[in-house]
Amino acid sequence: MYRYKTIFLYLISLLLINACSPVTSYNKIAHPGELDAFPKSVMGSNFDRLLYKADIRILDNYYTGLFFIKNDSIDNRIHIVALSEFGLSFLDMEYHDGEIKINNIQSFLDRRSLKKDIQQNFKLLFINLKDYNSKQVYKKPGEEIIALKVRNTFSRYYYFCDEAGEGNIYSIVQRRPFKRNKKIFLKYNDVPFPKKIVFSNNNIRFRMELDLLEVN
């Protein structure tokens, strides 16, 4: 009797996990060639500098400022610096070889979970999608939306791409066991870089909105 109970619980768990998947209404595509429909990465590397306006909420605190992103093509690095209204930098990171390294962070952001989240968010924007080992492609029936599912340790990431919308990635969802989904939303307008990026993680009550101001 105990054995049947255990099997039943496993089945219920599997059903729940599957029901929570962001691609439940999608069909898996066997042919990996569909991956070509995806951009190389969300941000690409075809820019010299990007300037975003930032609105950040952490717990009940609120911060505004600028995010300055500089592509150092000689060094093959992307520098990301967050500045307060008065120009003081509160976060300094760099993306290199598929990883984000934090060089400097102010104390109000210096929490393990928050740092990890920020690093992961920016990594998702800059990483070359072809670098993921495990990839599965899904397509929504009757619509031009395709999803790429990738794995990284215990997390699964879903990149959603609208083929009709010039093939831009408009959403990234992270699913982790027993935790609420973490989401990144992206909006585009003429330029190949996201005009708006919204990071939200309700688990740590963190939300950050970036609005594109300048492209060079």
């Binding site: 500098r49 300037l51 306006k53 609105d55 009940d60 605190n61 609120y62 911060y63 505004t64 600028l66 300055f68 500089k70 150092d72 520098h79 610096v81 500045l83 307060s84 209204e85 008065f86 120009g87 003081l88 930098s89 509160f90 102010q106 104390s107 109000f108 609005d211 101001l213 300048e214």
Partner: protein, 215 residues
């Protein structure tokens, strides 16, 4: 003995060079810092309002970039401040009655306690103290004063950890003619710093209270 004879002058030369480097060019040290403070405080008591344009330059040395912002600044009775940024994006920051309000380019207003943003709080305290002229007595900083033909310079080195994490050193330049701040330089590291230059400064001009109220 030979070693001492060689080493001692070398140390003296090194100390002299470091000392020279610490003094900004064209400036000499003000010895009577108390007298300078008295002068600044006395003068600030005659100022009720300040309205000024500002240009802010952020120098990011390691990526060789300067980010420029500009806008307008209002100060009334040392407690009400409005920073209105025009570039790189339009937004307003108001501090009034210990409340910190912002209005973004879409007209969205957010209201917070001023203590919720430590970086912002520190910079505002510096600006308010500069306007009051009581920086010299500020226990949070070691202060050294310099002067040139037309400027006073106060170099502030933070003593407390919370401020040190944000700013290594602040240089505040006062115009000798009107004894008000013309420039604030906040140094984060050797080559990474922010300069706020105040232009078209007007004193004791009428400033309506409602500009400090965002609705």
């Amino acid at each position: 003995m030979k070693k001492i004879v060689f080493t001692f002058p070398l140390i003296i030369i090194i100390i002299f060079l470091f000392h020279q480097k610490a003094i900004p060019q064209n400036f000499t040290r003000v010895n009577d810092i108390i007298a300078l403070e008295k002068k600044l405080v006395e003068h600030s008591q005659s100022i009720q309002t300040i309205v000024s344009d500002f240009i802010q330059e952020k120098h990011l040395a390691f990526i060789d970039e300067v980010i420029i912002s500009n806008g307008k600044f209002w100060l009334k009775d040392e407690t009400s401040i409005r920073w209105e940024y025009y570039k790189p994006f339009s937004h307003v920051i108001v501090i009034h009655d210990e409340e910190f309000k912002t209005r973004d380019d879409k007209g969205r207003i957010s209201s917070f306690n001023v203590n919720s943003n430590p970086v912002f709080k520190e910079v505002n305290n510096l600006i308010i103290s500069s306007a009051r002229g009581d920086l010299v007595a500020d226990k949070n900083f070691d202060v050294v004063a310099y002067e040139s033909s037309d400027r006073y310079l106060l170099k502030l080195t933070p003593k407390i950890k919370e401020i040190k994490q944000v700013i290594n050193e602040t240089k505040i330049y006062f115009d000798k003619a009107d004894l008000f701040v013309v420039s604030v330089v906040m140094v984060e590291s050797d080559d990474d710093y922010t300069v706020i230059n105040f232009k078209n400064r007007k004193f004791n001009v009428p400033v309506q209270d409602d500009i400090f109220i965002l609705n």
